[in-house]
Symmetry: C2
Subunit: 345 residues, 2 copies
């Protein structure tokens, strides 16, 4: 009997631990232990439970499930991200990890304003949230909220500046490396890097990954250096005009953001360069409204924010159960290919 045949009556509600236990023929407690890799579960049982979970497409958040029994079932998400560009995907990922019926997310918008943040913090704590996820407006380290809040905190996207805290972030170095790796696989050799504000650590991290990957091929950056300025289309256009002067053989640009990449594309188009035939362009962010509307649609590096939200929720659930983590965990970005890159013929 296939999963398709079994599953239709369950369509629309996620499988529960009970479903898994029932399919594996074990108690709920045993299923929970098996999925959480606790001791006192034999290897065969563990395997049977895992197979049932896989067949049912069960995404274990036993942590959150256990947790919710004694808790308010509410997590606060404190964001400084005005347009929701970064916080909404993190929120979605966290909701997916917890399960909406088990945990609600109270979102509060601190607007990068310290006083407002303190207000929101008090308001969230007075509502007895079980924990907090803090999402920054940009990926650089942000001040810790301290260790005395009485509930666990996980920082997502922007790490805390206190190594005692737990932070989950996108791996910008690996993201920069991934971008250049893709361009090299497309046969490009004269690769420039146009990026944003040099006061952002993320600019330097992405650039470092790019330069390291180039060095492995015996290459250096076209234009001679990383071109830092601002996270804007205007800078993408300006930088590209400079580059075309300096590097007539330019065959690829790695832009540090999709906004910059849009400017790069426009300037190349104006200079009569064909993208991707003559010059390939890759961005960073996978901001869909920018990346899908461009000519041609933009290949870009996606920082996988939903995954960050999911991991942040799991780490928070562990911390609520008394197993707090520390330090900064980096998670991979992923390559999203559209039409602005292609192999050289």
């Amino acid at each position: 009997m296939s999963v398709d045949e079994v599953a239709p009556h369950r369509r629309g509600r996620p499988p529960t631990l009970k479903d898994v236990a029932s399919m594996a023929g074990v108690s709920i407690a045993t299923a929970s232990k098996a999925l959480n890799n606790r001791q006192h579960v034999g290897a065969a049982t563990r395997q049977r439970v895992q197979s049932a979970a896989d067949a049912l497409n069960f995404s274990p958040n036993a942590l959150a499930q256990g947790m919710v029994a004694q808790r308010s079932g509410t997590v606060g998400l404190l964001t400084s991200d005005l347009v929701g560009r970064f916080s909404m995907p993190v929120l979605r990922g966290a909701e997916d990890a917890f399960g909406s019926e088990k945990m609600s997310v109270l979102l509060a918008d601190a607007r990068d304003d310290h006083i407002r943040q303190q207000h929101h913090l008090r308001a969230l704590l007075s509502r007895r949230v079980d924990g907090l996820i803090v999402v920054g407006a940009q990926p650089d380290p942000r001040p810790s909220l301290g260790q005395d809040l009485g509930v666990p905190v996980v920082y997502a996207y922007a790490p805390s500046d206190d190594p005692q805290d737990m932070s989950v972030v996108a791996d910008d170095v690996a993201g920069g490396r991934l971008a250049v790796d893709h361009l090299i696989r497309c046969g490009r050799r004269t690769i420039a890097h146009v990026t944003g504000d040099p006061t952002y650590g993320a600019s330097h991290d992405r650039a470092r990954g790019a330069v390291e990957r180039l060095a492995e091929e015996g290459l250096t950056l076209a234009g001679g250096e990383v071109m830092y300025d601002s996270w804007s289309e205007a800078w993408g256009r300006g930088a590209t005009r400079l580059l075309l002067d300096r590097e007539p053989a330019l065959d690829a640009v790695f832009a540090g953001s999709d906004q910059i990449a849009r400017g790069v594309l426009d300037a190349l188009l104006e200079a009569g360069k064909r993208v991707p035939e003559e010059v390939a362009v890759i961005g960073f962010d996978n901001w869909e409204v920018l990346a899908t509307g461009s000519r041609p649609p933009l290949t870009t590096i996606d920082p996988a924010l939903e995954n960050l939200g999911r991991v942040a929720a799991l780490r928070l659930a562990s911390a609520i159960e008394g197993r707090a983590g520390h330090g900064v965990e980096s998670y991979p970005c992923r390559l999203v290919t559209r039409s602005s890159t292609a192999p050289l013929h």
Copy 2:
């Protein structure tokens, strides 16, 4: 002195706490404390804030203040807006109206998925929210959640399809009228309208406002008709190429969204038309990442979503106190001028 000279930024919206804070030269939090007679605000500051509130005719929201005393102090915001583009400004406006220390907003992301919406609804109600604000992913009417939830509901941005419900929406007809009025004031006479999906009521409403305002000048649409297709840059480009063929004297385009406007600008640039000298372009949405990065930066109609959030919060506060409203209330859009429109010389 005309209203235009005094208060261009306030046209069509009541003063907010932010306006008061800005006029008094203090933070929003301080203005809030001063108006609520909290401690830790100096007498001089309190006086300055009160004077600003008086000058602006700002009425602090006694409803929300009174309401919260006997309630959970939590409002649910149920959104289907994947990127947060529409829900985040509504959330901010609602927070401003309530005051973050008095009311928290539980945000739940329904992702346009009926089953997920039902889950979230149960989750929110089980957390005893005092009321719900429902934000649609697009401005067309959406199915009512019904009258049996046990808490009041206000629909924002997208109205409910049940006239028993209370909805607050942007006035798309007036928005279309405002766009064309601005173009006419810039001396334009050959004005086309390129817009999105014809199955959206908002497309037709914006077009109707535009056509009505043209008719007052004895004008009709350049190109002979509203050009409907999709909310995309690609359609903006395609439509503009068609228009330049049909209407060599084209001197203005009203685009039904900022995405479309970006395409219009690109196609005009490619055709060698100078914007705004030869052709003026106005968009709709004031989606900043699109409107500020374009060449030239885009004049556009802002649907004033923060104000919708503020009004939704006030209506919800009334309903929670037992004075529920019904029907659809429309609120003005506002004109945001940048460089893509200018008077003809």
